[in-house]
Subunit: 149 residues, 2 copies
DNA sequence: TACAAATAATTAGTGTGACAAATATATGAA
DNA sequence: TTCATATATTTGTCACACTAATTATTTGTA
């Protein structure tokens, strides 16, 4: 294994991740979903884990705070999410899905699950397990921290 | 395999790709490399394949034309790359590394190869082959076109 | 109590990614 | 030759990623 190969794998990883995101975004657009892939990720996590602060949510979706602030701004303009002042801590907000946000998640979830399947055709369970293991190994190599599940 | 799992793998892929890029960019910054990871990719390809048009280069690095135009603008401001008018086709440019660009590539290449190694610790040749195969399968699933190599 | 340090969120600035539209030039067919 | 079409590149717009700095508030400690 030459050093050159490592650069090529990094390139391949980046290229593939972009393609997966781009494909999903195109399908979102075709379906007039009115949210981006990243906005969906945020709404999905709010839906599954209930109201939480931006810091907690940022940790869940692995986005930095400025990025999350802007995604929340956009979702809030669209009326899917609202910032409710935290009762004890005035620096902080609790993020809630609005009724409209809840309906949106319910409407989109099955369609998005289908879109997400396409990338994984022609691969089997062993491939998925290996892939997950390798991705997690890479992440850990660079993170210097443990990761869970 | 539930549909939910596919969404998780997509998330993991995106997260890992971002981490790899982020780690590299941090190291670039620590070393005062004066280029970004993507700018380096462009310079490296120019260095290895000689002068070429923006369209050719965009194909090599899998970036779209507007993105490449802007990266070339930045590299050109930094004096590492120049656009030379194509002798036969006035719509087109030949991209050249300047002398300064050539030196830059020579100086950075070994350091960057080392940085790139870190992600792949604790993995063996079989892992690399599997990883590459799976990434390429995913890409093909979504691209609708054949890929080479 | 008072004040330094920590925390939650935002703002600002730069770079990249995707998509659409515009500009300039080249090519091929009538 | 002329005109429609194709090609190379750029411009514009929006969204996301990362860093650094800022604001507001809370917490820990003297």
């Amino acid at each position: 294994m030459t050093q050159e190969q490592f650069a090529k794998y990094s390139f391949l990883l980046d290229r593939t991740a972009r393609k997966v995101k781009q494909y999903a975004q195109q399908q979102f657009k075709l379906g007039d979903f009115d949210v981006t892939v990243d906005q969906w990720l945020v709404m999905k996590n709010l839906s599954e884990n209930g109201p939480m602060s931006q810091t907690e949510l940022a940790g869940l979706v692995f986005k930095d705070h400025p990025t999350l602030t802007r995604i929340i701004d956009l979702l809030s303009k669209k009326g899917y999410v609202e910032r409710v002042p935290h009762p004890q801590d005035r620096r902080s907000f609790q993020l809630h899905l609005t009724d409209s946000g809840v309906s949106k998640v319910a409407a989109l979830r099955p369609q998005i699950l289908e879109i997400r399947e396409k990338a994984w055709e022609n691969l089997n369970q062993t491939d998925f397990d290996e892939f997950k293991r390798i991705l997690n190994t890479i992440y850990q190599n660079l993170d210097g921290q443990e990761i869970e599940e």
